[in-house]
């Protein structure tokens, strides 16, 4: 029983990281109606940027976010301008292919520079633990969770308390109507993509400390992230967060009760089960023709 409880706690802590990464993905979908299949690769790229700063300047991975997040934000804006904006027709299908290509490109470049050997981000908190109610929890999970809460909190504040957040939400609700009332939807889309990519960098640091990764790690990541946002309902931030916590807790409990090799599989089983009952996901709205 304690094992199950410990697994649940760990599931919530790691679920926070997935909630952060999935939020960026679902935000991008909500604003632009595109699926960013390259999100996993951008997370891995964020992790590698921190890794490079760590190996060259001995910068702490968490501290390196000060550098990597703005860089990744700019990269996101650039990717949106160059590759996503030119898509005029059939955006939804074409964007999947374009972002897939971005993922392959990132994987190829990272593979060329860093080879396919697994690496890991390091810090004292990676192994140091503390005890609470008899559980031993590694500091990194707490730091990671706190970071995610901080960024998610900032994201929500921005979305619900600022004029720009209002513009983003208006674009998510109805692009044409937002344009009519004077929202510059192209600018909103570019900045939202940048924000999504910047959160991927933050997710990448936590992912990189808690997992060994290589350039090919993005396949596993993106399949999980996509499952999470479909489960939560595409374009729903709240749905993504709840789905991430639900998935990771279930996964960690499966790991303890059944076997680690089946933990990943449960992810997809939950997705299938939910789709049979609710094809639009937990918080999704069933829109005619779209979802």
């Amino acid at each position: 029983m304690t094992l199950v409880l410990e697994a649940a706690v760990l599931g919530i802590l790691t679920g926070g990281v997935y909630a952060l990464m999935a939020s960026g993905l679902t935000l991008i979908f909500g604003v632009m109606r595109i699926i960013n299949v390259g999100h996993g690769a951008l997370v891995v790229l964020g992790a590698y940027l921190s890794f490079a700063l760590f190996s060259s300047l001995h910068m702490d991975p968490f501290v390196s976010l000060v550098v990597t997040m703005p860089v990744m934000f700019l990269l996101g804006v650039l990717l949106q301008l160059v590759f996503i904006r030119p898509l005029k027709t059939d955006r939804e299908a074409l964007s999947v292919l374009v972002t897939y290509a971005i993922a392959l490109g990132i994987e190829g470049v990272l593979g060329y520079i860093f080879t396919t050997n697994y690496v890991e981000l390091r810090g004292w908190y990676e192994t140091a633990t503390f005890a609470i109610f008899g559980f031993h929890i590694t500091w990194v999970y707490v730091f990671g969770f706190a970071l995610c809460l901080l960024i998610l909190g900032g994201l929500f504040l921005m979305l619900y308390r600022t004029a720009f957040g209002g513009a983003i939400r208006a674009t998510m609700l109805n692009r044409t109507a937002a344009q009519l009332i004077g929202v510059d939807v192209d600018r909103v889309a570019a900045i939202a993509f940048g924000i999504g990519v910047a959160t991927a960098a933050a997710g990448g640091v936590v992912f990189g400390i808690t997992n060994a990764f290589n350039p090919g790690s993005h396949y596993d990541l993106i399949s999980r992230l996509l499952t999470i946002i479909v489960l939560g309902g595409l374009g729903s931030l709240r749905g993504a967060i709840i789905a991430a916590l639900l998935m990771l807790v279930t996964e960690d409990i499966t790991q303890v009760l059944i076997s680690p090799v089946w933990a990943n599989f449960v992810f997809f089983v939950i997705l299938v089960a939910i789709l049979i009952v609710r094809p639009q996901g937990l918080y999704g709205v069933r829109v005619r023709d779209r979802i």
């Binding site: 005029k88 955006r91 939804e92 190829g108 060329y112 946002i229 299938v272 094809p279 005619r288 979802i291």
Partner: protein
């Protein structure tokens, strides 16, 4: 699809030209192993013909109905594994007999596709794409986890014929792949000109309207999905027999799933010849780059670049773009007087009558 009387000569000449080109291509495909029997060439030919078949099969679902599946590698891998397991458990003599099991592997894949399709087709557009990816990874995990059945990550070795050696080894596989590619093309052609195909195109253009005018959309979508999966499963089976060793991550490979999609897009989505042209152009290039740059992973960058160029510069693919050029050229040739009947030359321009989606009607 007969041209209007006034334009009868041009379509006839176009048809003759097309028939000649097709015959030449068929002759080339049939004679290739005789002309160039060295294993390096036949190996490249096997993979190229395989992707002709895969892209054509994928196009039956993705091109005609507009439902983009990125998880067709699930059916490819399932076909390969079910075929391999049958070979081992039924103790089939290696050589020609195993080819008889290829259709059985296809049927098993079709059964799986009914289940997957039933669930995945409850969703549309973006969600459908994601669900197909999820199923692909689900099968990859099953391949890795069911160690007693599949051998897991250590792989599954298939028996192969020791009588076939040297230059001959590749040849039976080549003709098997060619037969499947032709089968896929014939089925795709038949669907394209059937009432069923018309229903699929209606689903692509506006599913709700199609349903309203009486197209049984659910049944049609599922049928197209299953036909497409059956063909991919059979191709996967021959592939498995050819490479003789199956690993979950190499047959349930997302790159295989995306390659067939890229080729169909490159040639022209929803056209008959598009996927063929896409595969004939891209697969040899991909093999060449993987061979030259494979160790450094840079071939992925090349692949990504081709991808981005295709989609950003030719979003509708080669065939529709070229058809447009030809149409414009003809209109100029006929002079301004004939310009009034825009429809006639369009209908005679080729096998593919332009549809609204090809003309960029799809909603943003």
């Amino acid at each position: 699809m007969s041209g209007t009387p006034t334009l009868a000569i041009r379509p006839a000449r176009a048809t003759a030209l097309k028939a000649f080109g097709l015959a030449l291509l068929a002759l080339l495909a049939l004679l290739l192993p005789v002309v160039a029997p060295d294993p390096a060439t036949t190996n490249m030919a096997i993979f190229t013909v395989m992707y002709v078949g895969l892209a054509t099969s994928w196009n039956i679902m993705g091109g005609y109905t507009g439902y983009i599946s990125l998880g067709h590698a699930a059916f490819f891998g399932f076909g390969a594994y079910s075929f391999g397991l049958m070979l081992i458990h039924f103790n089939v003599t290696p050589g020609y007999p195993p080819f008889a099991l290829v259709p059985v592997a296809g049927l098993l894949t079709a059964v799986l596709a009914v289940g997957i399709g039933w669930i995945a087709l409850r969703t549309r557009a973006a969600t459908f794409v994601i669900v197909t990816i999820a199923f692909m990874f689900m099968l990859q995990l099953l391949g890795e986890n069911l160690v007693e059945l599949t051998g897991g990550g250590a792989g599954l070795g298939l028996p192969y014929s020791h009588d076939w050696g040297g230059d001959f080894f590749n040849i039976p596989y080549y003709y098997a792949m060619l037969a499947l590619a032709v089968l896929a093309l014939v089925i795709s052609w038949w669907i394209r000109r059937s009432k069923f195909g018309l229903g699929l195109l209606a689903i692509r253009d506006d599913e709700d309207k199609a349903l309203a005018v009486g197209v049984p959309t659910r049944g049609f979508k599922l049928t197209a999905f299953v036909i497409s999966a059956l063909l991919v499963g059979m191709i996967g089976a021959v592939y498995g027999y050819y490479i003789t060793y199956l690993y979950p991550q190499f047959v349930f490979d997302p790159l295989i799933g995306i390659s067939m999609v890229l080729m169909a897009f490159f040639g022209g989505l929803g056209t008959l010849s598009g996927p063929v042209i896409g595969a004939l152009l891209l697969e040899p290039a991909q093999l060449e780059f993987a061979y030259r740059l494979g160790a450094s992973k840079l071939y992925l960058v090349f692949y990504a670049a081709v991808f981005l160029i295709v989609i950003l510069l030719l979003p509708r693919g080669i065939v529709p773009s070229v058809a447009d050029l030809v149409r414009g050229w003809r209109r100029r040739q006929m002079g301004p007087t004939a310009g009034g009947s825009r429809k006639a030359p369009a209908a005679s321009a080729g096998e593919e009558p332009p549809t609204p989606a090809q003309q960029g009607l799809a909603s943003p």
